[in-house]
Amino acid sequence: MHPVTLAAVVVMTALIVGLPAERSRDARSVVDFLVPFGTAVAIFAVVAIGLNVQWGYTGVFNFGVVGFFMVGAYVGAIFAKDPATGEFQRYIGGYGDALAFLPFLDSREWLPHLFGVLAAGLACALVALVLALPILRLHEDYLAITTIGIAEVLRRVSIEEHGLVNGTRGLTGIPRPFSGWVDPADYKYVIFAVMLVVLALVYVGVEGAARSPWGRVLRAVREDEQAASASGKDVFAFKLQAFVFGAVLMGMGGAVYGYEQGAISPDTFTHFFGTFLIWTMLIVGGAGNNAGAILGAYMIWGLWSVTLQIQGYDLPDFLRTRLFYIRDFLLGSIIVAVLLLRPQGLLPEQPRVSRWLERRVARLRREERDAAAAAES
């Protein structure tokens, strides 16, 4: 591991563990802080891996991450919630009870959520497909501004279409998966464990895809579209697949984000929070490396949470009123600094063609050595 990476991780970990410990001087409070922190990191890591599939591997530029994240969160929520009642609730769906059709295993606790995550992925795949067909052929800087625009329009729709997802009030009281099985105080461990499993599945799946021949074509497209095209690869099709795949991951991340939070509203899904933060995570962690995306989520969400911890100290007014602006300034500066000083990120992409090739080379070398040894004797 590069010394800079090591130093950054050590400092951030010291802050994340040290600040709550220093403030509370109590191991239990530190755990109370760390477990939800880890849950959030896992959720953002899933979204960042989604962006990594699009940008890190394929070089498809998406400045509208928040759009997919939001669609996923809302679709997930309307699958888990019960139908709207009362005058302050107007939204479509509410399939929670209908989907809990299994008479055993307490299916209301998890089945609608499972459907919700899948539906969120499917909805984002559809949105991505419809959008990608016209825009993916564009020059990459046009892609940037059109994806920002798409995210903005989606956010507008969620606000303006009052009957769709409850307008500016957003959706509250989203049922949490498995929450009926444990004591509310212990629920954070459950969701943390669930998220770790989800992140592990996503990581293994995407790593496998990236190392497959399919993943190699994605990187070929990123490096040189014309060369990939000359080798007989349908560049547009591969970009489309990567865009849709990444969007599915973002949507699923959004769905579990909604479940974890229990409430979502248009205020949550700002470009700063939903797009810029994820981009910072990926760039800081290292585009083209899924472990980098996870590390980036850890570092950047760490910075975010540490700011909240610092807020608990007795600060002078001058600083207290500006704490969050200072954090935002740091985030903006960090992304520029990383691009300038360490563009490959904390965990750079591994230049690896294929593990099969490596094995084959190793086997050939071994055979050569054996043959040489046999000739000598």
């Binding site: 070089g59 530029f61 400045f63 016209p134 825009i135 564009l138 020059h139 990459e140 800087d141 046009y142 940037a144 501004i145 059109t146 920002i148 625009g149 798409i150 903005e152 329009v153 507008r156 606000i159 303006e160 470009h271 700063f272 810029f276 981009w279 910072t280 760039i283 002078p316 007014d317 001058f318 009123t321 500006r322 602006y325 200072i326 954090r327 935002d328 300034f329 985030l331 903006g332 500066s333 960090i334 992304i335 520029v336 691009l339 300038l340 563009p343």
Partner: protein
């Protein structure tokens, strides 16, 4: 050289050119018809659209210049506009947030004799007009420093438009947080109090007097940029670099100097646009991001690198979005989505815009 067989490439080229010219003519016809219809059917919205569109145009001129010469989407444009508008506010009123309450600096333009007395029937006095060049100097220095420290190293590394765009997004976030640190999230005005209005002859619509100034400024700035680009040596060098930076360098043009001059002009344009945006709406930190989409729509619609295109694009986007929300199908919240629809249509149907150089 090989001997051409089949249809001559030249005739294919001229056919494509004719088809292109026909497309452009059709596009202009649609735009003019829409404008005429808007004047008659939606006079009030048309007038508001012209004012809003002028503000878009002012921002888009700077954006199109940076896009054309430096070849990247400057995502910090809106936030830079707001930041320089706030700097002008500081020059004028000397106010910023201290620990909690506002502090007023003793050194400020307001204290000059008569600086606050309204010129004609505008809401502002000559203090604001003085604040613009002072704020512009600060903006230019900021951009020169940013280019030297951020954009130039990235360009020299051949980092590509996307990396430059992400870097500019990072500076946008940093600029907005500086603005929030110094002036806080509350809305501010250059000159509080009522705005006088005038009824337009023939159209029968009332217009805030300041808006005359905004529209006139938009046209004046476009004319000034046109003169710079097409009548001065540095403008010729900028256009040469916009066409082909390597060729310009080979031809003996000091491209580093051209880049610096581009930022000087762009910083000045950004300040003027920011102050007039704040005059039209108010000083509000999040306005910088909100305006980004219409600015890009206007830039792409007009054709990247063309000042007159930015003016036309800004006006078209402004008028369309004001008129479109009068239809029942669209709520007023969709205003900025209209800019996006225009952007998409242009990018898909005519990526080089109304005034863009033909490919």
């Amino acid at each position: 050289m090989s001997v051409a067989t089949g249809p001559s490439p030249l005739s294919a080229w001229s056919r494509a050119r004719t088809r292109d010219a026909a497309g452009a003519a059709a596009l202009w016809l649609v735009i003019l018809a829409f404008g005429l219809w808007a004047v008659i059917a939606h006079t009030d919205e048309f007038v508001v659209g012209v004012v809003v569109g002028s503000v878009f145009a002012l921002g888009a001129i700077g954006l199109t210049l940076i896009y054309g010469v430096l070849k990247f989407g400057h995502f910090a444009h809106g936030d830079a506009m707001m930041l320089s508008a706030y700097v002008a506010f500081l020059m004028l009123s000397g106010r910023f947030v201290g620990s909690r309450a506002d502090i007023t600096a003793p050194l400020r333009l307001d204290r000059l004799p008569g600086a606050r007395d309204p010129i004609w029937e505008f809401s502002f006095g000559y203090g604001l007009l003085l604040a613009i060049p002072l704020a512009a100097i600060i903006a230019v220095l900021l951009f020169l420093a940013l280019d030297a420290r951020v954009y130039r190293p990235l360009r020299e590394r051949k980092a590509g438009v996307v990396i430059l765009a992400i870097a500019s997004l990072g500076t946008a976030i940093a600029m907005r947080s500086i603005l929030l640190m110094v002036w806080g999230p509350q809305q501010r005005f250059y000159a509080p109090g009522i705005r006088h209005t005038t009824e337009l002859p023939l159209l029968g619509t009332r217009v805030v007097n300041d808006q005359f100034f905004i529209v006139a400024a938009a046209f004046a700035v476009v004319a000034a940029v046109y003169v710079i680009l097409f009548r001065t040596t540095i403008g010729r060098a900028m256009r040469a670099m916009a066409d082909n930076a390597d060729l310009a360098r080979v031809a003996g043009i000091d491209t580093d100097a051209v880049v610096r001059w581009t930022w000087v002009v762009a910083g000045t344009l950004i300040t003027i646009a920011g102050v007039l945006l704040a005059l039209q709406a108010q000083l509000k930190p999040e306005l910088g991001f909100t305006i980004l989409l219409p600015l890009f729509a206007a830039t792409v619609l007009g054709g990247i690198g063309s000042p007159q295109g930015a003016l036309a694009g800004g006006l078209i986007v402004g008028i369309t979005q004001e008129v479109a929300v009068t239809f029942d199908v669209l709520g007023p919240g969709y205003k900025f989505s209209v800019a996006f629809v225009i952007l998409m249509l242009v990018v898909l149907l005519r990526p080089r815009g109304l005034f863009g150089a033909s490919a």
